[in-house]
């Protein structure tokens, strides 16, 4: 196995608020290999976006990283300790250089009063030594590559003149024009219609092949994950509860929460199957449950409920690197 492009180890992130320290991400570790698409799934409030932003140090001023947290980015000839980059000048290598990000709401991600083209040129001038003329040429090429008709004309337009799907394409073109090694896509298709979503997903798959970059794909839609990701990590209330290949997680989910998510999805091939919601709501991060964070909503605890309330489950890993944090899984191993 080649060494991973980025390794996250024991990432714990808290926010200082008026109500005290709020834990948003708790002891999360994962790797992304070069060319791999890692899907990060979870409900709103599970800490997906905060985890992703940590990779680029984009979290707000009031964030506190735990001392054990470590994020290592491996480029061709050097290892970068991401969390040690304090000055904006040093952070340029991760912000838009080696890592780019696409956000959920493409209208909010473009400056409304600067043309799309000028915004694309600006970042190329910062991250490469191109001349403005070269940057313009590259930008128009990228717009064409993502399927925007009349790119030279569109280049001069503003975000409001683009439709939703086109804005997301322009966003992708912009994120990819600096040739990043890792693309973070935070719910890139959630605001789009299904037909446009299908176009964007296909485009992203093509681009992964073409540029051989890694993607951290954040979404709450398991269908989108099944069609795009190589590996999946499931998050709940700041904890990683299960990781594995997309087939392992979707075909043989090991954590009750993953099973709950899958059961609550409407399935098209069996219209009469009942929808089983995960009972209750995600607890407030101010008031994290003791023991297993999922025990308040878990329906499968059975005879070991007491253990779930008091002990934090460790990770169990099977031979094919399918990891799960659940007491039930540990029990099965012993029996």
């Amino acid at each position: 196995m080649t060494s991973p492009l980025i390794s996250v180890k024991n990432l714990t992130l808290r926010f200082r608020t008026d109500e005290g320290l709020v834990t948003a991400v708790n002891d999360v570790s994962f790797d992304i290999a070069p060319g791999e698409v890692l899907g990060l799934v979870g409900e709103s409030g599970s800490g997906k976006s905060v985890t992703a932003k940590a990779l680029m140090m984009l979290n707000a001023e009031n964030s506190v990283y735990d001392d054990n947290s470590q994020i290592t980015l491996r480029l061709d000839d050097e290892e970068i300790d991401v969390l040690s980059l304090k000055r904006p000048r040093d952070q340029m290598v991760i912000r838009g250089g080696a890592i780019s990000m696409i956000f959920q709401e493409p209208m909010a991600s473009f400056a409304p009063a600067i043309s799309i083209g000028d915004q694309m040129i600006e970042q190329l001038l910062i991250h490469s030594d191109m001349t403005p003329a070269q940057a313009k040429e590259v930008s128009i090429e990228m717009l064409e590559r993502v399927g925007i008709p009349e790119p030279a004309h569109r280049f001069k337009q503003y975000a409001f003149e683009f439709s939703g799907g086109m804005r997301q394409r322009a966003m992708i073109a912009m994120a990819l024009s600096t040739k990043p090694r890792l693309l973070i896509a935070d719910e890139p298709t959630t605001a789009l219609d299904v037909t446009i979503q299908a176009q964007v997903i296909e485009l992203m798959k093509d681009l992964v092949d073409e540029f051989h970059m890694s993607i951290l794909f954040i979404t709450h839609d398991l269908g989108v994950i099944a069609q795009t990701a190589d590996r999946v990590a499931v998050m709940y209330l700041g904890n990683l509860v299960e990781t594995g290949t997309v087939r392992q997680v979707i075909n043989t989910p090991a954590h009750p929460y993953t099973r709950g998510l899958l059961n609550s999805l409407p399935k098209l091939d069996d219209l009469d199957a009942p929808l089983t919601p995960v009972p209750g709501d995600i607890p407030s991060p101010l008031d994290r449950p003791s023991g297993c964070v999922f025990h308040t909503r878990c329906v499968e605890t059975g005879g070991i409920a007491e253990k779930c309330r008091t002990q934090i489950p460790g990770y169990t890993t099977d031979s094919s690197n399918h990891q799960v944090a659940c007491h039930l899984a540990t029990q099965e191993d012993q029996s």
Binding site: A198, N263, P266, L275
Partner: protein, 330 residues
């Protein structure tokens, strides 16, 4: 027809004139054009389409909350029959009691300054449905219990609730006046999947218990498939196909419905089927394409589609489609 129709639209159009003149004419947004639907009593009627297809406008027209430019909507329960286009005064007030709306965003739909009890009681007070405070309270409690809200919840303000709970409050508010007809406009779109299933189950059980007729608007065909017994597919202001749910999925006839179905990402990672890609995006409803409105994106479009408007015809019992070539494409 012998079926018991609660509300029906016939040749309905909703147009919104824009400001300004183009070549001496005022441009018009044709949000809905030539819509024919019949919603049976006690059914769960699904309306699906992309953003900009006019589904919300149609839903609002059904509640007389959007202007009816042409055609008619007739509402008829066992007590009254109303022609919505000419409805006004006390009759309109009465129709407001019989029809209700559940909104998409439960964070925006509830006043942050009112307690949950006051939010649910407001329709009763505005419509004068109860005569005393005790009666109002009893009714609020009864409805709240149905939507799984307890007495403790009624004293709180909306900010203390999660998305799923807020949506249950919106549902309680819609139910409190005892309506016969509810339009649920994207009511689960803002919720997480785990919560979404809970709200869908709640709507289904309400419908089975009380026999309320629902018009369920959504962009998500898999959600529609699970909850509704009849589905209409909308594209650019027109209904392109409508059928009972199982039929729509087994005998899909319109190319747009097929594309929508194939665009839903499959949960099976080994499913190699490639989404039948639709090129481009939905055109502007100010200047819809001539002929079949879908011809600019349809993979099977021919000359005839660009000139001749397809007729709304019956393929089989209760299955209608507007496409010249649905037999050949089936």
């Amino acid at each position: 027809m012998s079926k018991d129709i609660l509300i029906a639209a016939r040749d309905l159009s909703v147009h919104f004139p824009l400001r300004g003149l183009v070549f001496g004419e005022r441009p018009v947004v044709r949000a809905c054009e030539g819509i024919n639907i019949e919603i049976e009593k006690g059914s769960f009627f699904g309306l699906v389409g992309e953003s900009g297809s006019g589904k919300t406008t149609l839903g609002r027209a059904m509640l007389k909350a959007a202007p009816i430019s042409h055609g008619e909507i007739v509402y008829s329960d066992h007590e009254v029959t109303y022609d919505l286009a000419s409805l006004k005064g006390p009759e309109l007030k009465d129709y407001r009691k019989r029809s209700q709306l559940i909104f998409q965003d439960p964070y925006a739909a509830l006043s942050p300054r009112m307690t949950v009890r006051d939010i649910i009681a407001e329709p009763l007070e505005v419509m004068g449905l109860t005569s005393s405070r005790e009666e109002t309270d009893a009714r609020v409690r009864e409805i709240a219990a149905k939507c799984r809200l307890n007495l403790e919840h009624l004293r709180r303000f909306p900010h203390a609730f999660s998305g799923g709970q807020r949506q249950r409050i919106s549902i309680a508010r819609a139910l409190v006046s005892g309506p016969n007809f509810i339009v649920a406009d994207e009511s689960v779109a803002a919720l997480d999947v785990s919560i979404q299933a809970d709200v869908l189950n709640l709507l289904n059980s309400i419908q089975q218990e009380s026999g309320i007729t629902f018009l369920f608007i959504s962009h998500d065909l898999s959600v529609i498939a699970h909850t509704c017994d009849f589905v209409a597919v909308m594209y650019l202001g027109q209904i392109v196909e409508s059928a009972p749910t199982s039929k729509l999925f087994s005998e899909t006839s319109h190319p747009y419905t097929k594309a929508l179905l194939s665009a839903i990402p499959s949960l099976d990672p080994d499913d190699q089927h490639v989404a039948q890609k639709l090129e481009g995006e939905i055109p502007s409803p100010i200047n819809p394409p001539p002929g079949c409105r879908f011809n600019t994106r349809c993979p099977h479009a021919q000359e005839r589609c660009r000139t001749e408007v397809p007729e709304w015809r019956e393929m089989s019992s209760r299955h209608h489609v507007a496409c010249h070539f649905s037999e050949e494409l089936a």
